[in-house]
């Protein structure tokens, strides 16, 4: 609350009026003798006399009041019929207005008017909005119902116009402005607006005033309406709908009862009562206080026709009816005064936040000097400067001793209520309003003691206090709401009751969301009792005996409110707690903080913010469990479709509660999701197995379609569950796959194995691959082979035993199955294409098979082909060729093998040694020595065969295919002497062709080089042919001296233009420098500077 502190009393018995100039921090006091005293503001808000302007005013006793504009630096003195305009800096009179019709009152209004916003239905979007600054001086006339406006636009005088009021008896009472509409002029009869951007010469009356039947933004008003209905319901046992509806209608002004108003009416003279309208703007809204109709009118700017929305203001009027003057003090606080008291109130409810009177003197007028500083002009003609400070039990209270000269009235004394509960409630309400409005003040720190030091800490303290007060207040309202609903429970289907209930609950929970209300408290007090009872159980707390636990029955909260407000409270709190838990885990000390924002202030909060007072320590995990379980139960009771969603996301719901509830409701799918989310897979599968027998045991299963379906589909559900399980849980998968295999028909088994294991075979880990194979093999060897094939080909990391098993399986089939062509193909394909197996191991297996005679004789040869791929991968090419040529007599495959080696080597050479042209292993034909050796080994084998059989065909084929890849001389050396020349003819012919081509190519290259040599020689000769004769008469062009005839010194020779110039060595150097400088100069001249261009221009 605000407490006044007297800063200074300026005693000036001759004072007629005063005004404070904000810009220069000067207080101007006019006196009856025509003098003007100037006081300057010092530190600590006191004023010091500065100077006197003698006899400045004419007829000083007739001066009514001063007016001031900071922007124009003008002060205006109002007389009965005249206005005198002074410069506020030097008090020089510069203009005068005389008006015979008399001057009633004046206003200086400073307004920003958006010119793009018009009152026509069409809003132009093409012209950008431009804000014009208007300063308007207005005076109303005594003898005419007219007013005159002197308008400055952007600090320049624009025009002066006169406007008429519609009624001759009309008097202007208050004026303010709206940025969209312009001036808002309130008279004793009507309300007008005047647009400053239009050239209207008339005022426009605002006739439309709407009043909502139910104000959805006012919790107290809604509660009051509900209480009215309750009273009717409790008094009239046989109440029909119509009668209580008519009483509850807010549209009827007489029905707005004075809620928590004074009961003792004191007769006050009319002149001292709050009867005059007052228009003011708090920056966001333009409002008119209308004490006559007891309404607060809010201007609606954004509709086609300007209108007002009325809200009941009876509480304000009743609380402050003894005050006849109103001023806007700061923020949403108003200053009211009468001849005895000054009072600071909020504009909505008129609660007293500081009421005081002066000692030994009455009040003439009060003016707001700045922020928290007010000047009181007393009937003793003193000016008392008062500073307002916040008084709070938390804040330090170090008021100066001067405060004793002011009588400060404690606000609590003012309210008079039926019972203690109401008194407590109003105190709470009042504090909530106070701290809300106080924290909305942009200059709140000025009201704090020691405001320089910890203003942000003070804000945080106030904000947390406001939070606590708001939560308690809302809980209080909730209790009142429940009391009402308990009385009128038989009419709870009444739409008006439901609407009021919704409004109250929505606003309560809006506050809970905004202020992060402690979840234990909120759930205990406001949730249905089946949920609130859980708080103790879930948080292991035993201190709730003193807290009133909610008695709301299940399903009694309106669905709309639950969905729109109560569940968002839970999800928001859940989010905050999860973030905090995350921060706790990531911080070193486990004391994470999160930011709570209030009015753009970020306030760090820890776990304690969510706790209740006097609480035992509750872990964040337990709080989360409470919130999630509550959310689960709310979904279950109100929005069952969201249960499955909650079960699928990470949650901390209590296991037992969830199980009991879902099982009871037969929501098995949701229960399975819950188990899955919590990693309780074994429990889920056990549950499913148990469920089958449970459902089978039910007597009435045949009557329940759902039960029947479930019992029939248990296997399918288990299969689906196993399919979803992570492969790391192989033991569980195998365990329950066993159950499935035991409980399904034989024809379904292979499908089950496929679904569980084969569809994601490639994802099994290195360790599990063999285990899974063995498991599948127990049931189906064909599927186990498929498993091996998939894993062997697709897995990124493969257990080597998988390949061994696969080869063994193939070999077994090879051996035991007559119709094994497909196995052969698969085996061959595997050996040729799979590059992941270990060739050594596989070769060993194959050779063992062969050596042990496990392969039928008739298939031995075809089997030997299988050895080639592992041998090739091992680089054992000679062994491969031995097998292919010696054992299998397959020249063609040998030849292809060699080509393959050649190609693979040349490819790898191309890839790896593009830049290594001088590779030692290269034979000059692009083939490395390794492949050359393979070819020569093959060729040697052919020759050996020729020597034995004298068959030339192979040699000829070899030479045709591979001849170009081997050096001809080496070939010829190897070919037996008795080999017919004729058979060699083609090879030789090719060789001669190749050599001839190479020779021609070399010749051509030589000729081209020769040509280039000739050209260069020609150039040299031409240079050598140029000469210059230095005779006796030739003088050096630099030093102008002749060259000595018998000189042995060095000369320098230049070619300048087409002329040869010979100079002495030193002269030549000088000349060289000159030439270089000249070149530089030329370059510089081409690049002209701005300065040079300017100079050129000037010269021109």
């Amino acid at each position: 609350m605000f407490k006044p502190s007297l800063i200074q009393t300026i005693s000036s018995p001759e004072t007629t009026s005063h005004i404070f100039i904000n810009n220069s921090n000067k207080l101007i006091i006019s006196k009856k003798n025509g003098d003007i005293d100037i006081y300057s503001k010092q530190s600590h808000h006191s004023f010091k006399f500065s100077q006197t302007y003698s006899k400045l005013l004419q007829n000083p006793t007739l001066l009514q009041q001063w007016y001031h504009s900071n922007e124009l630096s003008i002060i205006i003195a109002r007389y009965d019929n005249s206005l005198y305009f002074f410069n506020s800096t030097n008090l020089q009179l510069f203009d005068t207005i005389h008006d015979k019709r008399g001057i009633q009152n004046c206003w200086f209004i400073n307004c920003n008017h958006s010119s793009s916003i018009t009152h026509s239905p069409i809003v132009s979007s093409s012209s950008p909005p431009s804000d014009d600054q208007f300063i308007v001086f207005i005076y109303s006339m005594k003898l005419k119902a007219r007013l005159r406006l002197i308008i400055w636009q952007n600090n320049s005088y624009k025009k002066m116009i006169e406007l008429s009021l519609s009624n001759n008896k009309e008097k202007i009472i208050s004026i303010d402005h709206s940025s969209q509409l312009g001036l808002i002029i309130v008279t004793n009869i009507s309300i007008y607006y005047y647009s400053l951007t239009d050239n209207n010469t008339t005022l426009t009356k605002i006739n439309t005033i709407w009043k909502k039947k139910i104000d959805s933004t006012d919790m107290i008003q809604s509660l009051q309406n509900l209480q009215d209905l309750t009273n009717v319901a409790s008094n009239t046992t046989t109440l029909d709908n119509q009668s209580y509806l008519s009483i509850g209608r807010l549209s009827k002004k007489s029905s707005i009862t004075n809620f928590w108003q004074r009961r003792h009416r004191i007769t006050i003279p009319m002149a001292n009562q709050l009867t005059s309208r007052f228009v003011f703007s708090n920056g966001n809204d333009v409002m008119v206080i209308d004490p006559i109709s007891k309404n607060l009118l809010f201007l609606n700017h954004d509709v086609t026709l300007p209108s007002f929305t009325a809200k009941s203001h009876s509480q304000f009027v009743e609380r402050n009816k003894d005050f006849n003057s109103i001023k806007l003090c700061f923020g949403n606080f108003l200053l009211l005064y009468n001849s005895q008291f000054i009072k600071i109130v909020d504009y909505k409810y008129g609660f007293n936040y500081g009421k005081f009177k002066l000692n030994n003197s009455n009040i003439k007028s009060v003016s707001i000097l700045s922020n928290n500083l007010i000047a009181i002009y007393t009937e003793n003609n003193d000016i008392q400067i008062i500073e307002l400070k916040l008084v709070d039990c938390i804040m330090t209270n170090d008021l100066t001793s001067d405060e004793l000269s002011i009588d400060y009235e404690e606000e609590e004394e003012e309210e008079d209520n039926d019972n203690d509960d109401d008194e407590e409630f109003i105190k709470l309400w009042k504090k909530v309003i106070f701290y809300t409005e106080f924290l909305n003040l942009s200059n709140y720190h000025l009201f704090l003691h020691n405001n320089n030091n910890n203003s942000s800490t003070s804000f945080e303290i106030c904000a947390i206090k406001l939070r606590d007060l708001t939560v308690l207040w809302c809980l209080n309202i909730f209790d009142k709401l429940q009391s009402c609903l308990n009385v009128i429970h038989n009419q709870d289907s009444d739409p008006q009751i439901i609407q009021l209930q919704n409004i109250i609950l929505s606003l309560i929970f809006e506050n809970f969301i905004k202020f992060w209300a402690p979840p234990q408290l909120v759930i205990l007090r406001t949730f249905p009792f089946n949920i609130s009872n859980l708080v103790k159980f879930l948080t292991n707390q035993n201190f709730f005996t003193h807290i009133k636990i909610s008695k709301i029955s299940n399903q009694s909260l309106p669905l709309e409110t639950v969905q729109k407000w109560i569940i968002p409270y839970l999800t928001d709190t859940r989010r905050h707690l999860k973030t905090l838990l995350q921060k706790d885990k990531s911080s070193r000390n486990g004391d994470g903080v999160i930011i709570w924002n209030y009015n753009s202030h970020s306030i760090e909060q820890s776990k304690d913010f969510f706790m209740m007072d006097d609480h035992d320590d509750v872990s964040l995990e337990n709080l989360l469990k409470l919130i999630d379980t509550t959310l689960f139960l709310m979904y279950l009771n109100y929005i069952p479709s969201m249960v499955s969603t909650l079960m699928r996301v990470e949650n901390s719901c209590d296991f037992k509660i969830v199980y009991d509830q879902l099982f009871e409701r037969k929501m098995f799918k949701e229960l399975l999701d819950f188990y899955y989310q919590h990693g309780e897979h074994e429990q889920a599968l056990k549950f499913l197995i148990g469920l089958k027998s449970h459902l089978n045991d039910q007597d009435n299963y045949s009557s329940s379609n759902l039960q029947f379906q479930w019992s029939q589909n248990i296997q399918y559900l288990i299969l689906n569950y196993l399919k979803q399980l992570p492969l790391s849980l192989l033991d569980i998968i195998i365990n329950y796959a066993n159950w499935l295999m035991e409980n399904v028909k034989d024809d379904a088994k292979s499908n089950i194995l496929k679904e569980i294991f084969l569809l994601r075979a490639e994802n099994f880990s290195y360790q599990d691959q063999l285990k899974v194979y063995q498991y599948i093999d127990k049931f189906n060897s064909k599927l186990s082979l498929n498993f091996l094939e998939i894993v062997g080909a697709e897995s990124k990391i493969i257990n080597p035993n998988i390949h061994i098993k696969l080869i063994e399986r193939y070999l077994f089939d090879f051996n035991n199955n007559d119709n094994n062509s497909m196995t052969k193909l698969k085996l061959n394909s595997f050996l040729r294409t799979n590059n992941k197996y270990n060739p050594e191991t596989i070769l060993k297996i194959l050779q063992n098979y062969l050596n042990e005679g496990k392969i039928p004789k008739d298939q031995e040869n075809s089997f030997k082909y299988l050895l080639i791929s592992p041998l090739q991968r091992l680089g054992k090419h000679e062994t491969s060729l031995d097998i292919l040529y010696d054992q299998l007599n397959d020249f063609k495959t040998c030849s292809n093998y060699c080509l393959q080696i050649l190609n693979s080597n040349s490819n790898s050479n191309n890839d790896n040694n593009d830049d290594d042209d001088d590779d030692d292993d290269d034979d000059g034909n692009g083939n490395d020595k390794n492949s050359q050796n393979v070819l020569l080994y093959f060729f040697q084998k052919i020759i050996d065969s020729y020597l034995l059989n004298n068959i030339t065909t192979e040699i000829i084929f070899f030479l045709q295919i591979h001849g170009k890849n081997i050096d001809t001389i080496t070939l010829l050396e190897l070919i037996p002497k008795n080999f017919k020349l004729f058979d060699l003819s083609l090879t030789l012919f090719n060789s001669i062709n190749k050599t001839s081509f190479q020779k021609d190519y070399s010749k051509l290259k030589q000729n081209l080089l020769q040509l280039e040599l000739i050209n260069i020689s020609n150039d040299i000769n031409q240079l050598s042919a140029s000469y210059s004769i230095l005779d006796e008469t030739y003088s050096c062009p630099v030093c102008r001296k002749n060259f000595p005839i018998y000189t042995t010194g060095t000369i320098l020779w230049f070619k300048i233009g087409h002329r040869n110039v010979a100079t002495h060595y030193n002269c030549g150097k000088v000349l060289q420098n000159r030439i270089n400088e000249k070149k530089k100069l030329t370059t510089h001249q081409n690049l002209k500077t701005i300065q040079s261009l300017r100079n050129q221009d000037n010269t021109a």
């Binding site: 004793n188 005033i209 709407w210 039947k213 999800t571 989010r575 699928r648 996301v649």
Partner: protein, 208 residues
């Protein structure tokens, strides 16, 4: 007397980190694409005026949220009041596809939509411009998912090459508009429940 709220369609884009949520938003709103990756912190939004079926215009407010887990709690606060939710996965990232269901569930919990069963979702499989060999989420799998979630519209998009982005957002706008209308119908205009009153003149001093 009645006033209708201006149609602002709030669209939330969700999906794993790096699937291209921000790129999709920028491609749609600004028709721009940047190869550079920058993690979104909390949430960010852009607006675009949209014409739906040539007869309705609205302002679409596209909210891009953080995919990275450490920033997710910030973005969740903006889910409420959404008219449509876009679930994005990367066709080259199977994990992002698997997480689509989780994103949908998280959204439904935090957005607190009036009718979870009918709330409009749209699934976008982004980065379809990549080579087929790199794509690991098949169209068939995506179609099965969209069907299992209640026939959610599915689009294969590329923010990089501007493939299907506009048509996807057209569908998003249409869904959002329908949702917005449904919510607006439920919203009771304050003025429908108001009466016009007259101000009285100043009372005379006489009490009679």
């Amino acid at each position: 007397m009645s006033t209708r709220k201006k149609q602002i369609l709030k669209v939330i884009i969700l999906g794993d980190s790096g699937v291209g949520k921000t790129s999709l938003m920028h491609r749609y709103v600004n028709d721009k694409y940047s190869q550079q990756y920058k993690a979104t912190i909390g949430a960010d939004f852009l607006t675009k005026e949209v014409a739906i079926d040539n007869d309705t215009t609205a302002t679409m407010q596209v909210w891009d949220t953080a995919g990275q887990e450490r920033f997710q709690s910030l973005g969740v606060a903006f889910y409420r009041g959404a008219d449509c939710c876009v679930l994005v996965y990367d066709v080259t990232n199977p994990k992002s596809f698997e997480n689509i269901k989780s994103w949908r569930d998280e959204f439904l919990i935090h957005a607190n939509v009036s009718s979870p069963e009918t709330f409009p979702f749209v699934i976008l499989g982004n980065k379809v411009d990549t080579k087929d060999s790199k794509k690991s989420v098949t169209l068939k799998a995506a179609q099965e998912l969209s069907k299992s979630l209640g026939n959610i519209p599915l689009f294969q998009t590329s923010a990089k090459n501007s493939i299907n982005v506009d048509s996807a957002f057209e569908e998003i706008a249409r869904g959002a508009l329908e949702q917005n209308k449904a919510d607006a119908d439920a919203y009771e205009d304050d003025f429908n429940d108001a009466i016009n009153i007259q101000l009285d003149g100043e009372p005379s001093s006489c009490a009679c």
